[in-house]
Symmetry: C2
Subunit: 104 residues, 2 copies
Amino acid sequence: MELELAARQLEALGNLTRLRVYRTLARAGRDGLPVGALQQRIDVPASTLSHHLHRLIQTGLVAQERQATTLVCRAVDPAMNALIGFLAEGGHRKWSAGPGSVSA
Amino acid sequence: MELELAARQLEALGNLTRLRVYRTLARAGRDGLPVGALQQRIDVPASTLSHHLHRLIQTGLVAQERQATTLVCRAVDPAMNALIGFLAEGGHRKWSAGPGSVSA
DNA sequence: CCCTTATTTCTATATATCTAGAACTATCGC
DNA sequence: GCGATAGTTCTAGATATATAGAAATAAGGG
């Protein structure tokens, strides 16, 4: 992974609200969560949440998919796995990624 | 690990210059590197570097130790391991940490 | 079409960050 | 103590971020 992408993703996660959003999505798993459901759990104005979601999406950590009138958000596991891999290999030592890698 | 600390550490790493600094230190290993050596490798004004180092230190990702007139900086592995662990467990799935954990 | 629900985009403002020169501090060797 | 070397702290300006209300857009139902 390239340094720049990693930095942008780390920055995206480096905000309390966004980290909460991301974790909530990560825990929601494959089904994801509609923006509205996220808003209830995170308790932040819609416009603010949308702004933060946008940043997470830009970095590839989160994806959105429209389902009728609601937008379902999902944590993108491969992105997180790559980021974790990047951090873990930093010192040139390795982490063994268990069979099912992951996200958070 | 608590969410807040994780967010601050992620934010600290979420800057290209700081991420470079951190990685350089991580690769330098236990011996660490004097601030001056870092400056040569990263190529950034001393005051700017110092500012970034300060932020990394505040979050516990980096430590400094005085050796005579030079300040030696080191990546704090346990901090990075905890952060990686935090990210990896986010989705409630696990990562197997190899024997020698890590840093990056 | 119009209404409702869901969510984004626009806009403004307050606050924080980044950058880097200049001045200051610390430590050593003489 | 002096001077040289190594870094930090001070300062300031430019830029970026976070927050949130208000207006706009999207989709479905009647």
